[in-house]
């Protein structure tokens, strides 16, 4: 066979074997040229600027014609800004990416999200996509962070059951040494605790143990990790694993436990605003962070656990599945979590939490 023929054959073969690839390429190139006309992309995100930087750099190298305006906000600010700006009709973000899974789904559920089937959908787990509108983008284990220097190895809880047993066995060691989210002030903290209560029958025992050991409650992961690092607390319960990884780079004393009985998996939720002024640019960005390339950068450079199962490495869904298998309990990206926003149930939960903490 002559070279020419070989090439031709390969080409034809390829054409028939990867029809989906072909279609995607055509479609996304259409999106890309439309995005080029838009020229800009406005993002509201709760992922901090420093950690998102590698992703943005890589995205810009793919689409140099896009000017990316990245607003690093906290989850409440994202919500407040978005609802007010949408109501005023004065232009808002094209792309919303937030750790407040419930607020994001609330917004999507109220018809604020654009329906867009990303070509990457087939590579994502079913639970991570809601009606082709809201997308889970990460696969982050909810972990226990502890101080290796000060907490003896036999006192490091390896499961949720340990979180009940150990503080009871060693009350002096754990007295005022546990930190956790304040579910009353932190939406993320509330979400994790209500999921705990769903998965773990002894959750309220755990809450009471937190209360009797004088646990302190916080509104930010950062403050908790800082105080675990200093030894003001020995361990922090329900910390998103990615943050611990970032912190470990600087403080070797910080340990990370993924509970063996079950580990909740949390996902930062993204959607494209229906009122987006640059919808095509937003589509490109959604496709990018869900793509193999984006997810690899996310895992390797941003140290955020990536969602796709086809990314090798430790800070990935595959890595976690290898380690924990069926113990992983992802929080589904669907409107079920909105039950937590139902007023009476919510206040009831808070009341029970207050009682458990005995404040």
């Amino acid at each position: 066979m002559k070279i020419k023929q070989k090439v031709l054959l390969a080409f034809v073969f390829g054409f028939f074997c990867f029809p989906s690839l072909r279609a995607d390429a055509a479609e996304s190139s259409g999106t890309a040229s439309a995005a080029q006309k838009e020229g800009k992309l406005v993002i509201y995100s709760s992922t901090d600027s420093a950690s998102v930087e590698p992703l943005l750099q890589d995205f810009k190298s793919l689409y140099p014609f896009l000017q990316v305006e990245y607003n690093d906000l906290n989850t409440t600010e994202i919500y407040n800004r978005f609802v007010a700006e949408t109501a005023a009709g004065s232009g808002t973000a094209d792309f919303l990416w937030s750790s407040a899974m419930d607020l994001q789904l609330q917004l999507a559920n109220k018809g604020n999200a654009l329906t867009y089937a990303s070509p990457e959908i087939s590579a994502l787990p079913k639970w991570a996509v809601w009606q082709n509108q809201a997308y889970g983008t990460t696969f982050e284990p909810v972990s226990i962070a502890y101080n290796k220097r000060l907490l003896p190895a036999d006192a490091v809880p390896q499961s949720h059951a340990d979180m009940i047993r150990l503080p009871k066995e060693k009350p002096d060691l754990f007295k005022e040494k546990i930190a956790t989210f304040d579910p009353e002030k932190s939406g993320v903290g509330f979400l994790m605790m209500t999921q705990d209560a769903k998965v773990f029958p002894q959750f309220w025992d755990l809450a009471k143990t937190l209360g009797s050991s004088g646990a302190k409650v916080y509104t930010s992961t950062g403050a908790m990790l800082e105080k675990v690092g200093s030894g003001e607390h020995y361990l922090a319960y329900n910390i998103i694993g990615s943050y611990v990884l970032l912190r470990q780079k600087k403080d070797a004393a910080l340990g990370l436990v993924l509970p063996k009985d079950y580990t909740l998996v949390f996902s930062r939720v993204a959607f494209i605003s229906k009122a987006a002024r640059h919808p095509n640019a937003a589509k490109l960005f959604l496709d990018y962070i869900l793509s193999k390339r984006g997810q690899t950068v996310m895992s390797e450079k941003s140290l955020v656990y990536s969602l796709r199962s086809d990314i090798p490495g430790n800070i990935t869904a595959a890595g976690l599945t290898k380690e924990l298998g069926k113990a992983l309990k992802p929080i589904d990206v669907n409107t079920e979590i909105l039950a937590g926003l139902e007023q009476n149930k919510r206040l009831e939960f808070m009341k029970q939490w207050q009682a458990a903490l005995k404040r």
Partner: protein, 548 residues
């Protein structure tokens, strides 16, 4: 005109909040309807009552600590021959421009349960004899860190006091202490009362300190209760938040009324001389060293301790129990900070809004101040109430209110994404503060001078331009320096107006706080203190005085 302008900028955001409080949900929601449900919920909530009580306690406590201490320090520095006062004065101002969250965190690193100072004491006597995370600790720190606010007003009033009065008392044989308590301080009672009511309001507005020092243990004040309302029902409940904010606003009325009542009787004593008489500092005599000791002690607890905490944190990779500080020293945080996105722009913006924005605000305050000055009208008393109101709104809600105003009031909507919107918000919030600084200088200008100009046929505008303003130029420059420091620190007011391109140091700190990069926050704060310190130093060298 000016009064109407002030009324507009104050009533815009405030009216919106009042309206919001009577609705069932966000005012821009199509399903919102009139309702008193929010009042019913908040007023019946036991959490609100206990938070209000705690806030009342904190506010009163810090006023009781800061006003007498601030007045005393003002007397010592303004009127006596205290040694080294020139060098000590700039340090006094550090708590004003340092972000309260950073300040609180500095205390955690220094005197928290595993703070370096606490560990040192523990090694010495076996335990840590204080608890930073208590109501008492919070009140004490809030009180001490607000001493500069009282100090500034009182010392500026003291400096414009005719020294002849004190001289007379001294000749009559009164000691320094007696002069201070029976002559000087009573004469500046208006300033003392004003600073007391301002500090009392600031106490209700405290957020960073209680969040860091009280919240982990469940100590709830009104602002942290407000914070809870953003999450309690899942989505931020604006109507409930509005009610809580208004409960603080309502406090300003009796406060200003009380202040005006007390001033009516105090006014009789006002002895303000415009004629320059050689000022001789009062000799402290035997009080000399105790006074120095008091001042240094205050500086140590209020400035040195938290600042050393922050500086230390910026230089170590980890700290606390079981960490040898000498082994963890590093400059990495500064290096890392240098590569942080938008760092330089944030610093530049902060300085621009502080320096240029501050100057423009002082100009605006001067216009309003001149308009109200020598104007015998009940509108002036209206103004007294009005200017206090924005300061009574907690940062969490004032930021939202400004977002709404700039979104829904179309004529100014295009300004929203510029630094200009931020400037307007800051100017409105610090209205009471700035106006008071201006009117303190204006009070020194004797009416005769203006009248002389009027007799020669000058128009009012010309009098202001050629007589009044030149006479108070040093007062204006001092006010500018103080407003500069306020604006450098201010953040929550503008939280919803900031975006890419308009970052300030405050927004960088909040962004870093999210991931817990307290090492970088500390490094940034060290740079901030150094920069502001440098500017302060240069300004003072160039002859800008902090006093009218």
């Amino acid at each position: 005109m000016a009064v109407i302008g002030v009324a507009l900028v104050v009533c815009g955001p405030l009216g919106l909040i009042l309206y919001q409080s009577f609705l069932s949900e966000a005012f821009f929601s199509p399903t919102a309807h009139l309702s008193v449900e929010a009042y019913r919920y908040v007023l019946a909530d036991a959490g609100f009552h206990s938070a209000f009580g705690t806030s009342l306690l904190v506010s009163s406590g810090m006023t009781i600590i800061s006003v007498p201490l601030g007045s005393l320090l003002a007397f010592l520095l303004a009127r006596t021959d205290l040694p080294g006062k020139k060098w000590l004065e700039p340090w006094l101002l550090v708590p004003i421009f340092l972000s309260p969250v950073v300040l609180a965190f500095g205390y955690v690193v220094a005197v928290g349960p595993v703070g370096f100072f606490s560990l040192w004491i523990k090694a010495l006597i076996g335990r840590v004899p204080w608890n930073l995370y208590s109501l008492f600790g919070l009140i004490l720190i809030a009180g001490l860190t607000h001493v500069p606010h009282a100090f500034l007003y009182v010392s500026s009033a003291l400096r414009s006091l005719d020294p002849a009065v004190e001289e007379a008392a001294r000749v009559a044989g009164a000691g320094v202490w007696r002069i201070a308590v029976t002559v000087s301080l009573p004469l500046v009672l208006p300033s003392i009362l004003f600073s007391a009511s301002l500090i009392f309001l600031l106490g209700f507005e405290l957020f960073g300190l209680p969040l860091v020092l009280g919240d982990p243990a469940g100590l709830l004040v009104l602002t942290t209760y407000l914070y809870k309302l953003t999450n309690l029902l899942g989505v931020p409940s604006y109507h409930l938040m509005a009610v809580v904010a208004l409960s603080i606003v309502a406090l300003t009325f009796p406060l200003v009324y009380l202040q005006r009542r007390m001033l009516r009787t105090a006014g009789r004593f006002a002895v303000i001389g415009g004629k320059g008489q050689a000022f001789r500092p009062l000799p402290l005599g035997a009080f000399r060293w105790p006074a120095v000791f008091l001042l240094v002690l205050w500086l140590l607890v209020t400035v040195v301790v938290p600042l050393v905490g922050v500086a230390l944190r910026s230089l170590v990779s980890s700290w606390g129990e079981g960490v040898k500080l000498t082994e963890v020293l590093t400059l990495d945080h500064f290096r890392e900070l240098w590569g942080y996105p938008n760092l330089v722009r944030g610093i530049v913006n902060t300085l621009v809004i502080g320096a240029i924005g501050g100057a423009l605000s002082v100009a605006f305050y001067a216009i309003v101040g001149l308009a109200a000055h020598r104007w015998q009208s009940s509108w002036v008393s209206f103004l007294d109430y009005l200017v206090m109101l924005p300061r009574a709104l907690p940062g969490l809600i004032v930021g939202l209110a400004f977002l709404w105003v700039f979104l829904f009031f179309k004529p100014i909507a295009p300004l929203r994404t510029t630094l200009f919107s931020l400037w307007i918000a800051y100017t409105v919030v610090w209205l009471a503060y700035g106006l008071r600084l201006i009117s303190a200088s204006l009070l020194q200008v004797k009416p005769e001078l203006e009248e002389a100009a009027r007799v020669t046929g000058a128009r009012q505008s010309l009098i202001y331009r050629d007589v009044t303003l030149p006479l108070i130029r040093f007062g204006l420059m001092g006010s500018w320096l103080l407003i500069f420091m306020m604006f450098v620190r201010e953040y929550s007011t503008g939280v919803y107006l900031l975006g890419p391109g308009t970052e300030v140091i405050g927004s960088l700190i909040v962004s870093l706080w999210g991931t817990g990069a307290l090492d970088l926050i500390s490094a940034l704060s060290v740079i901030e203190v150094a920069l502001v310190g440098l500017i302060l130093f240069i300004a003072l060298r160039l002859g800008v005085s902090l006093h009218a």
